[in-house]
């Protein structure tokens, strides 16, 4: 079930209502059941995969804590990580690896007889796998006591607001919250609702509107004579609004129930450098890689370590996003740019020119992210040389929408507030803003075909 659907509009109030109505001791059962239902709404059978990894990690956590000696703990951790990564590799990367083996075989003269899998990728696999891995790692490190109650651990992995597209939570942040009794709080409820509303606006009004234009252009990339600059710009905004919109809905829905999730975006397009961009974009993933890959590899101990580890992190991040070489290249470019900034001493620059350049560079790298293959990406870059900008007039409405949205975001960012609504002091103005946002969401929701969240595919 996706957040921008009528099904969720029915699901969410019912789950929330019963969450507060039920006695505290039954709440985790209700929330877990709702999360199971939410996940099974996509494809029921994949609950088995999730179930198996939950069982493995639950017992791994308990035994890691009980184990004597670092060697035994390490072994148990390794078993848990291998199980999680194994599932991820099998479902997400098997066909990709298979295709590469075939290509290699063609080059070296051997035949690859492995069949290709024709199964759908379980929704949110990368997200909940990483979240599960962070649990066993933190237990191993001694930062998190093992969860003794199976139900609570299952809820940690399956908690529906962040189950399929993050934020990738840490057990220290979330597990204890499930054990706490949360009373209904009006301010928290209204705050959560506002965050959800803004998230829906970003997703439905901005992202889905732009998606139609971007998809059209990419579909016709070889036959169009129009410059691709606008499409590239639109996709940058689309992916941001799509993903951050989803996260906002997750954070808002969770906040209403009294559970605070971590912030995943901090106005990334106002970054001045690539380095800063990655402190603001998909924060839960970048901190995950920092804490569980970059630092264990040695961090920036020496210049060599820094370069090597940054490259590894960004390559792995690229491949995490998708089973395609375009994602690897996307990650690699970001890694190289981060290294270049550090070596040139501009990684902490705050100049406007750097900010604009960073936005342009990030937008250009998104081409690799969006394109199905390198041919399409190459064509998109080639289309930047075209002289016709006929779509600018044709999409003037969407351009205005994007500029208005960026203006609101920038204003909110500069004032240090979470949402634009908190900057509207007069009640009449605030209510008018709510109504306009609701009206815009309903209007666009029925106009555009509901686009799936981009990050769902990960």
């Amino acid at each position: 079930m996706i957040f921008n659907s009528l099904a969720f509009a029915v699901f969410f109030p019912i789950v929330t209502l019963f969450y507060f109505v039920l006695p505290f001791r039954f709440r985790w059962i209700w929330l877990l059941s709702a999360s199971v239902f939410f996940y099974m709404f996509f494809k029921p059978i994949y609950i088995l995969i999730l179930g198996i990894t939950i069982v493995i990690d639950y017992y791994a956590g308990i035994y890691i804590e009980k184990a004597q000696g670092k060697k035994n703990k390490k072994l148990l951790l390794a078993c848990s990580l291998v199980a999680n990564i194994g599932v991820l590799v099998f479902f997400k990367y098997f066909n990709f690896l298979n295709a590469n083996i075939t290509s290699l075989g063609d080059l070296l003269g051997f035949k690859n007889n492995l069949p290709y899998l024709t199964i759908l990728l379980p929704v949110g696999l990368s997200f909940h796998t990483f979240q599960a891995m962070s649990y066993t790692i933190e237990v191993y490190r001694g930062h998190q006591p093992a969860e003794k109650q199976f139900g609570y651990y299952s809820l940690y992995v399956m908690y529906y607001p962040q189950l399929v597209a993050g934020p990738i939570e840490r057990p220290q942040n979330v597990l204890h919250q499930f054990h706490q009794k949360h009373h209904f709080d009006t301010n928290r409820f209204m705050s959560g609702l506002k965050v959800m509303l803004w998230g829906l606006f970003k997703k439905v009004v901005v992202a889905d509107t732009l998606a139609a234009i971007v998809n059209d252009y990419y579909y016709n990339v070889y036959t169009t004579h129009t410059n691709s600059a606008l499409t590239i710009f639109f996709f940058s905004i689309q992916i941001y609004c799509d993903f951050s919109g989803y996260t906002d809905i997750a954070i808002g829905a969770s906040r209403i129930m009294g559970i605070e999730l971590m912030k995943n975006f901090k106005y990334p397009y106002f970054s001045h450098t690539i380095t800063e961009f990655w402190h603001r974009w998909h924060i839960s993933l970048s901190t995950w890689f920092r804490d569980y890959l970059y630092i264990p590899l040695g961090g920036n101990k020496t210049k060599f370590h820094y370069i090597r580890n940054i490259l590894i992190v960004f390559l792995v991040s690229g491949i995490w996003h998708g089973a395609s070489w375009t994602f690897v290249v996307w990650g690699l470019i970001h890694g190289l740019l981060s290294i270049a900034e550090r070596l040139l001493g501009v990684s902490k620059s705050k100049s406007v020119l750097m900010g604009v350049s960073t936005f342009i560079i990030v937008s250009l790298t998104w081409v690799f992210f969006r394109a199905d293959n390198f041919h399409v990406a190459a064509q998109m870059f080639h289309n930047l040389t075209y002289r016709y900008f006929s779509d600018v007039k044709h999409h003037s409405g969407q351009i205005l929408l994007v500029l208005l949205f960026l203006g609101i975001e920038y204003f909110t960012y500069k004032k240090g507030k979470e949402l634009i609504f908190y900057l509207l002091n007069r009640k009449v103005v605030r209510y008018a803003a709510y109504l306009m946002v609701i009206e815009a969401i309903l209007f666009v929701f029925n106009q555009t075909t509901s686009q799936q969240f981009i990050y769902f595919q990960f």
Partner: protein
């Protein structure tokens, strides 16, 4: 909790009032003489009305372009075949409503609903266009709500100040009001086009260049099959003629409809033709992915004749003879 409920109710009430006010203004304008509308001329009558059985191909511009009415009317004593259509932007509901109120809606007649492209495009059944704004009365609106609940919410959400059609509509009404120009024509006069002859468009006749496919693409996700039962039921309750459905001719390179969607549409509507026969390659397409050029129309007409003869319609006992003779 009380404060939350109060705030939510307040927002809901304000939103509801705004929508009611917006609709109220539109219905008021519709009932006044300040309607904003397009002039829509009647075209030449093609079939002769002397035969007792009138066969009406009901649709939009697709029914005007996609059939050769000369061929269909070769045997006037058997039946008279007319195209009766509205503009596609009227949407299917207005098209059906106009037909129901027209002289063609008689028991003796046969209607072939050659569903316009709105069949395959989401929410085209009741379109939030200026035509539906003008032609949809308050009574219609409630009928849509009762008969087609699935599209009711969609239409309501489209009547919004964010919709540029609404601002155009209001601008037109204000202009008419200021200039004192009232509309002499009621909506019944702005009605059906009968047997328009596309021969005045040379490209249509002489079109041999491949059709340059536009970006529009009919996809499964755009197709809303939910209201098909509602359409059938609405037609059964309001149209006196014997009604058959026909899937419209479309450019085969512009759609990616799945078998499952096609099967759903076919199983509910039971069209007289099959989907394969409606797929035309670029060389038979005119200026839209649902308009055929003359050559395409000839093939489509032959397909219709075969489909009709296959039905063995009792009111058309000699129809089979027509087809056989033509073949």
């Amino acid at each position: 909790m009380k404060r939350v409920a109060k705030n939510l109710l307040l927002i809901g009430a304000i939103y509801f009032t705004y929508k009611v006010a917006l609709f109220g203004i539109i219905f008021y304008i519709n009932n006044s003489s300040y309607q904003y509308f397009d002039d829509f001329k009647m075209e030449e009558n093609y079939g002769n009305d002397m035969s007792s059985t009138q066969v009406i191909v009901l649709g939009c511009s697709n029914s005007r372009y996609n059939f050769d009415y000369k061929l269909l009317n070769q045997k006037p004593n058997v039946c008279s075949v007319h195209s009766v259509s509205t503009k596609a932007t009227y949407g299917l509901y207005i098209t059906l409503k106009k037909f129901i109120n027209s002289k063609w809606n008689q028991k003796e007649n046969i209607v072939i609903v050659d569903l316009p492209y709105s069949l395959y495009s989401r929410d085209q059944f009741v379109l939030p266009t200026k035509e539906t704004l003008v032609h949809l009365s308050a009574d219609d609106y409630w009928k849509v709500a009762k008969s087609f609940p699935r599209t009711f919410f969609s239409y309501t959400s489209q009547i919004s100040l964010f919709n540029p059609i609404i601002s155009d509509y209001f601008k037109g009404a204000i202009k008419n009001a200021v200039s004192g120009k009232g509309s002499d024509a009621t909506y019944a006069d702005l009605s059906l086009k009968v047997n328009s002859n596309p021969s005045f468009k040379p490209d249509y006749i002489n079109s041999s260049a491949p059709y340059n496919s536009k970006m529009h693409f009919i996809r499964d996700v755009d197709t809303n099959t939910g209201y098909l039962e509602d359409i059938k039921s609405y037609i059964a309750n309001n149209i006196k003629c014997k009604v058959y459905f026909s899937l419209p001719a479309i450019n085969k390179d512009n759609n990616s409809l799945s078998n499952s969607t096609i099967n759903t549409i076919s199983s509910v509507l039971k069209p007289i033709n099959n989907f394969k026969n409606t797929q035309f390659s670029n060389e038979y397409v005119y200026d839209q992915w649902y308009h055929l050029n003359k050559r395409g129309a000839e093939i489509n007409t032959q397909n219709l004749l075969k489909a009709l003869s296959g039905l063995r319609i009792s009111q058309l006992p000699n129809f089979e003879t027509v087809v056989q003779n033509e073949n």
